[in-house]
């Protein structure tokens, strides 16, 4: 007997209650539309809480600034892979969405004159790359947290209906390709529902947990990517992931650059200060990508530390304990808790660690999901929108600038909401009928999981995926490892298709939820590996050993062949490409140039 699926109707359903989802929901609910927001965890436990650095906007409160300069920095940061129409849109909208947030009650840090205080952040410059500018707006060290609180309260006032501890499982699409909602699991009862809606917005965040070493919380399993891929939507630019050079090996927790600033030294298994060979002048203080690449080279050449020779050491034992206690106390706690070493006495195991996903579900700057069609390469998927880290607008291109992600959430969350409002106003009163097979994908998946015999262990399979991603598609990439990686990840995928859970109970079955999450993660992982293997150049965060810096191809970038977005399709594990939009909305294009700081 098929399990029962209860259908609930809304004007709009939003999956995700992080920054992007909450911002979209405000737009819809305040326009009077009946809006449901589904979230796996309570809204203010979404990963946006982790953001501390701030949100970028060229308010110019402390010194002169301009959205056009911000746009230049973002295009350059993206290594010219970002779409310039979307980037102009985002940078121009920044002031508006930040001021709005202030009106929602966001407690920004302030100047004496009452205006929002702004701090400098890497990559943000004035006058087209001339000198650093103060552009980041923060609320102490709790920017993301304060942002979610302000927007959650606003949604409660506007009568947004929250479904907390509900997991969306699959997208519902009809024959014409129109999106009509999602299926979802209520964790508390284990019962299945369909949210039948005229507008469906994905704001499910990133898939950072596909890597073994990740700064992301466990919740970031890329569910939106999996749901979209299974429904035939391609994933864009998934080869581009931002890495931090020093995450605690195994745990992923960030060790800030400040540690090397205070005199921390990186060492290999022979105790050698290897950065002297790679960057004789800057040594351990060389830029993030140089340090990361050197670390990976040491590990790949067998000079890594530990039983698996898979990390290097960050040594501060030569610093006075006083200095460590005073200037780096947080780091000492992190090292003790997560590496099991007291850094006063022993060095900390570190590895380059996955931090942010630049790619995702392809959208235009209106927040509408777009796919290649008969007439254009960007045809709108009716009824479907995406915003935030799960989406690819594409403003971050091959590399994101710090503080531009929170901005992305606000601008494109709002934009997706606004566009949905416009479309809803035009739409007929009645909902389009659900197709007969609306729940099939979900029911098949659940049935498979409930009846699997002699299957694979979820935890072990996830670990195999994470190790494969880390080794074969990490921060520094090698042709032969990528090639092998594709084979290996497809092997892991077979195991994912046969996961087995012992606990078949209905209520709060965490084991089932984790198996369903793994179904989503593997799509992001395969997309990443296949896209990375295929892109035969270095650009932004995608750096290949076989595509080095040459006069013909500065930084290894090959604009003649690779100035294009990757689109990965689940069906047939196939790639297509589409052109980058180099035409901004109102200003001149920012011409191609070598990316140098």
């Amino acid at each position: 007997m098929k399990p029962k699926v209860t259908v609930r109707k809304f004007d709009a359903v939003i999956v995700g209650a992080g920054g992007a989802g909450l911002r979209a929901a405000i737009q819809l609910s305040e326009s009077g539309f009946k809006t449901a927001v589904l979230t796996k965890v309570f809204p203010t436990r979404s990963h946006t809480v982790a953001a501390q650095g701030g949100v970028a906007a060229s308010l110019g409160n402390s010194e002169e600034d301009h959205w056009h300069w911000h746009m230049y920095d973002t295009v350059k940061g993206s290594d010219w892979l970002g779409d310039q129409d979307a980037i102009e849109f985002m940078c121009r909208k920044a002031n508006e969405v930040v001021i709005e947030l202030e009106h929602y009650g966001m407690p920004f840090d302030r100047l004496d004159n009452g205006r929002i205080y702004q701090r400098p952040f890497g990559g943000h410059m004035s006058n087209f790359g001339e000198k650093p500018v103060r552009r980041s707006c923060a609320a102490a060290d709790r920017t993301g947290h304060a942002m979610l609180h302000a927007m959650y309260q606003r949604n409660v006032k506007a009568n947004t209906q929250f479904f907390v501890e509900w997991m969306a499982l699959d997208l519902i699409r009809d024959q014409e390709g129109e999106v009509l909602g999602v299926t979802a699991l209520e964790m508390e009862t284990g019962e299945l529902y369909a949210f039948h809606a005229k507008a469906t917005i994905f704001a499910t965040g990133g898939a950072g947990r596909i890597f073994h070493s990740s700064t992301n919380a466990f919740i970031n399993t890329g569910d939106g990517l999996g749901m979209a891929a299974r429904a035939g939507i391609p994933l864009e630019d998934m080869e581009f992931w931002q890495f931090h050079p020093t995450g605690v090996a195994g745990a992923g927790v960030l060790i800030t650059e400040g540690v090397r600033g205070e005199g921390g030294i990186l060492r290999n298994s022979q105790g050698e200060r290897f950065m002297e060979r790679y960057a004789p002048n800057a040594k351990d203080l060389a830029s993030r990508d140089v340090v990361s690449r050197a670390m990976v080279t040491e590990i790949n050449e067998g000079r890594g530390c530990g039983p698996n020779k898979d990390y290097v050491l960050l040594d501060i034992t030569h610093l006075e304990p006083d200095v460590i206690m005073k200037r780096l106390p947080g780091i000492r706690e992190i090292a003790i808790q997560f590496a099991g070493v007291d850094p006063i006495k022993a060095p900390i195991p570190v590895v380059p660690t996955c931090h942010y996903q630049m790619g995702g579900i392809p959208t235009n700057y209106h927040g509408q999901v777009v796919v290649p069609g008969k007439r254009t390469q960007n045809e709108i998927v009716p009824g479907f929108y995406a915003a935030g880290e799960c989406a690819c607008a594409s403003v971050h291109g091959a590399n994101r600038l710090g503080t531009n992600s929170l901005l992305d959430l606000l601008v494109f969350g709002k934009s997706a909401g606004e566009t949905a409002v416009e479309e809803l106003k035009k739409s007929p009163k009645a909902h389009k009928d659900l197709p007969a097979d609306a729940f099939d994908r979900t029911l098949e998946r659940l049935n498979r999981l409930n009846t699997q015999k002699d299957g694979a262990n979820v935890h072990e399979t996830r670990l195999a995926m994470q190790r494969t991603m880390q080794k074969h598609a990490g921060v520094f990439r090698f042709a032969h490892l990528l090639k092998e990686g594709v084979e290996k990840i497809l092997e892991v995928q077979k195991a994912v298709n046969q996961t087995e859970i012992k606990d078949k109970s209905m209520v709060f079955n965490t084991a089932r939820i984790e198996a369903l999450e793994l179904d989503n993660m593997i799509e992001a992982a395969v997309a990443t590996m296949v896209s990375a293997e295929a892109r035969k150049e270095s650009r932004g965060a995608h750096v290949r050993d076989d595509c080095p810096d040459t006069p013909e191809h500065p930084n290894g970038r090959d604009d003649d062949n690779w100035l294009k977005h990757t689109l990965w399709f689940k069906e047939g594990n196939r790639l297509e490409y589409k052109s980058v939009n180099l035409r901004p909305l109102t200003v001149d294009t920012i011409p191609l140039k070598k990316r140098a700081y």
Partner: protein
């Protein structure tokens, strides 16, 4: 098996999914040291701990702050295992 107790445990297991990786990791460690089903006493202390916002939780877990709830402080001590100095949160983007 005591069904309400099992469900309460599972609910708390899910509530241990947090917004900050630091908290996820320490809570994961806690779960690995526990029986399949929590006793009522442990469950109710954990409930109080998990009701905190994530930054507040990390302040406790990193030893920068204590609560005035002795049972919660005791649980925090268990989670922390190697007791250490006061500290700052890791800032960064």
């Amino acid at each position: 098996m005591n069904e309400p107790r099992r469900i309460r445990t599972e609910r708390l297991r899910w509530a241990s999914r947090r917004a900050l990786l630091e908290n996820d990791l320490l809570l994961q460690r806690f779960w690995q040291s526990q029986p399949e089903v929590l006793d009522d006493e442990t469950a109710s202390v954990l409930e109080r701990l998990l009701a905190l916002e994530d930054h507040d939780l990390w302040e406790l877990l990193s030893g920068r702050r204590e609560t005035d709830d002795p049972a919660v402080n005791e649980l925090v001590a268990l989670l922390r295992q190697p007791a250490v100095q006061e500290c700052e949160p890791s800032t960064g983007d």
